[in-house]
Symmetry: C2
Subunit: 451 residues, 2 copies
């Protein structure tokens, strides 16, 4: 320890710590101690003297320590619909499955679905997520109880009338800073094709007034961009620009349909705009191309890792998103030297923290940052031998290799056991709800997909 008299709340010893992920050449250091006070990292450096008596200690010999992973775009409560809409085109996915089923949701459903999502994420090393859904007070309750960090936005369509925007703004204002600061908020208009320009402009204004970002789906695929250009003469990104959404700061979900001409527009807002990339669902929905990460990163626009909702993505696994991003970007760019393991780690840490507007607080194991830490066991046969820790992290390690997780300084997963959530109780609570949740005989849907 640098200070023999210091008493830390928590000390992690003996780990192989990721010490530099700001660029694309990560550095891992063995025999590292991380000490935590008041929810922040207070020391990180070589193992030294034994920690002061009375300190909570996690012995992490040989475990790889990384910043808690960040899910930059999801709809957490959609765990309720996992696996319910497979092998269907995107129009059918929305209009025949998901949007009719979402009519059935109650506030308590959203609480349980979000809590299950928090269990999945914390178990797999994800300590922060950006959520875009409904009944967000229930989601906030799940976040508060589980110990995870989240940026929460209450989704709305213009079809809801003025009440949608008002509810989204009211929630963003009330909950920003809740759960001891673990909750931040966003305004959450659904998309430029479901929210009109007046409401987008108003949402941007509300976001600036409250001091939060806007979390929105935009240019989700190229067909949407083409439809926008054909009907209005401008791209979805240009709509975000004209309505002030980009000025407010934006989490852009997907962006597979971002055009070359959109890049300079986004580059002007690079310090407050990021793109959340969810590759698994893009492959499953079978709509090339993928998000132009090379072009975005070339001009400094951050790209974060996301999963989208589980009804499409089936998991909330950011290690999987990172791995798929590296592999698919190589493939579509036809360049095996592009999107290196180090670059993938940078996307999943630094750039993800930037994307959700927490660049100074999370995404690195540095003194002063919030203590969000995942400890990964690479002793399993599927990771051995470890010639290259970065490669093992990106291409071999699985979510199940995460053994211990610290969120905001508190141990929330210990030896693969969740300390804050009872998954068996959630399973039991859900079992009677599932038939009702997936019933579509009512013929209603929350919105029509026709971008």
């Amino acid at each position: 320890m640098s200070d023999d008299t210091a008493t830390y709340d928590l000390v992690i010893t003996g780990c192989i710590a990721l010490r530099d992920n700001a660029g694309t050449s990560p550095r891992f250091e063995s025999n590292t101690t991380i000490a935590v006070t008041d929810g922040r990292i207070a020391y990180i450096g070589p193992d030294g003297d034994a920690p002061p008596a009375g300190t909570d200690v996690v012995e992490a010999a040989g475990l790889v320590a990384i910043p808690g992973l960040i899910n930059c775009h999801t709809h957490a409560a959609m765990t309720l619909f996992r696996g319910i809409a497979e092998d269907v085109p995107v129009h059918s996915w929305f209009n025949e499955y998901v949007w009719p089923m979402e009519v059935n949701l109650t506030e308590e459903d959203v609480y349980l679905g979000t809590l299950l999502a928090c269990a999945e994420m914390l178990s797999s090393g994800v300590t922060s997520f950006a959520d875009h859904y409904f009944y967000m007070d229930a989601a906030a309750r799940a976040v508060d109880e589980s110990g995870i960090r989240a940026n929460l936005g209450w989704a709305f369509f213009s079809s809801m009338g003025s009440q949608g925007l008002e509810q989204s703004a009211d929630f963003a204002e009330r909950l920003n800073g809740a759960a001891g600061g673990r909750i931040t908020t966003s305004l959450a208009p659904h998309a430029p094709y479901t929210v009109n320009d007046a409401d987008l402009t108003a949402a941007a204004g509300e976001a600036e007034r409250i001091g939060v970002r806007v979390h929105i789906h935009a240019a989700e695929n190229l067909a949407q961009t083409e439809s926008s250009v054909s009907s209005r003469g401008i791209t979805p990104i240009e709509i975000l620009n004209r309505t002030g959404i980009l000025d407010a700061g934006t989490i852009i979900a997907h962006g597979c349909g971002i055009t070359e001409a959109d890049i300079p527009i986004l580059a002007e807002h690079r310090t407050s705009v990021g793109v959340a990339h969810c590759p698994k669902v893009y492959l499953k929905h079978a709509l090339p191309p993928l998000t132009p990460i090379r072009a975005l990163n070339a001009v400094g626009i951050p790209v974060g890792m996301g999963t989208d909702g589980v009804a499409g993505n089936n998991t909330l696994d950011i290690l999987e998103s990172m791995r798929l991003t590296a592999m698919t970007q190589k493939y579509v760019e036809e360049d095996a030297t592009w999107l290196t393991t180090g670059h993938a780690i940078n996307l999943a840490t630094t750039q993800s923290a930037e994307t959700i507007g927490l660049a100074d607080d999370i995404g690195a194991l540095e003194v002063g940052r919030r203590a969000d830490i995942a400890l990964i066991d690479m002793s399993g046969p599927h990771c051995q031998p470890v010639h290259d820790t970065a490669a093992a992290l990106v291409y071999s390690a699985r979510a199940g290799d995460v053994v211990t997780v610290v969120s905001d300084g508190a141990v929330v997963l210990k030896d693969r056991k969740l300390l804050t959530i009872d998954v068996a109780a959630i399973r039991s609570e859900l079992s009677d709800r599932l038939d009702r949740l997936i019933d579509v005989t009512h013929g209603d849907q929350i919105q029509r997909y026709d971008p």
Copy 2:
């Protein structure tokens, strides 16, 4: 039980069993008992009376039972090189990393590397693999000890002289049927670009004489096919046809460069030829297109799931290969309705068994088949709730969810603990070997990659 007096060697009770995977509409049945005698499935059906006293019983309430997974193409001992050649083009991967490093291999290295591979595979539900490597007596020893099933082929290049082919044929003849029948063999010429037509013809003759197949890399990517057409006027698949390799029966590794004109040639041999598909490494090597699975399956040519060697693929995880196959095939065909979850399961079971020539013995949970069974726990938050077991298996379950594995009637993994392999001992044995294994200062390589 159907027969109250029967005594089975092993009884698995209470599982959710995959009962039909011959087509693309799999059926799972809850509350199923599977009973095993003499290494084969002797009963499968509804849970009934308690099993006879003295029987070994696995209580599998709520676990999903699937046929042991099949890795149709790998180089198992390349676990030794995991993560050592990332982010490099394929020429460099071969000529600067892998083929120089393989000069360093000893027989004991191959034994340890293969044993580690067996540990990884059994832990993840893979009970059979088709291997294509060197020092195959050492590989056979690892297979024998671990309890896994394997089809083993001793690789050769024409640059080895006549000794290469002779060694491959001698091994195939000596070891076919070894380890109580768990070992089958193949002739293993490396590829049409490293083995000349005379040697291919001779290999086909030896395979037919011994009664085994030929396992060979062919049309690995489109550039290889184009090079073959440009230099010789025929495709790699046409070379296999003209040299009698297809008549002998063939495991074709990769086939991303299979052309439309190749399809009818392969279709003529559909009962004895299969294509091993390893999507992770194709993405990483960044060489579109992918194997034309739609065209192959349309005319009844089986496609099996593989991983290739770990120096490229980083894992030996067939659940991952299956998942990536489903996702990437949807994407490249731009059709979300193609390669359904049921189809993916069919590829990973029935078609994989066909690909490695064991269509009657493995790949289904049916009376009379060898008892290769993986039990998967879907109670984790990343699988819950399970609206659709097939979707959960393809898109949510992870290799680490495999809890118990039966291979050839013997329990080899129990509650996630390997009973036949000591991974810690292998790790320790390997640690002193790694520097020597990756040393390329000798300037030699086993072969030059210039297809």
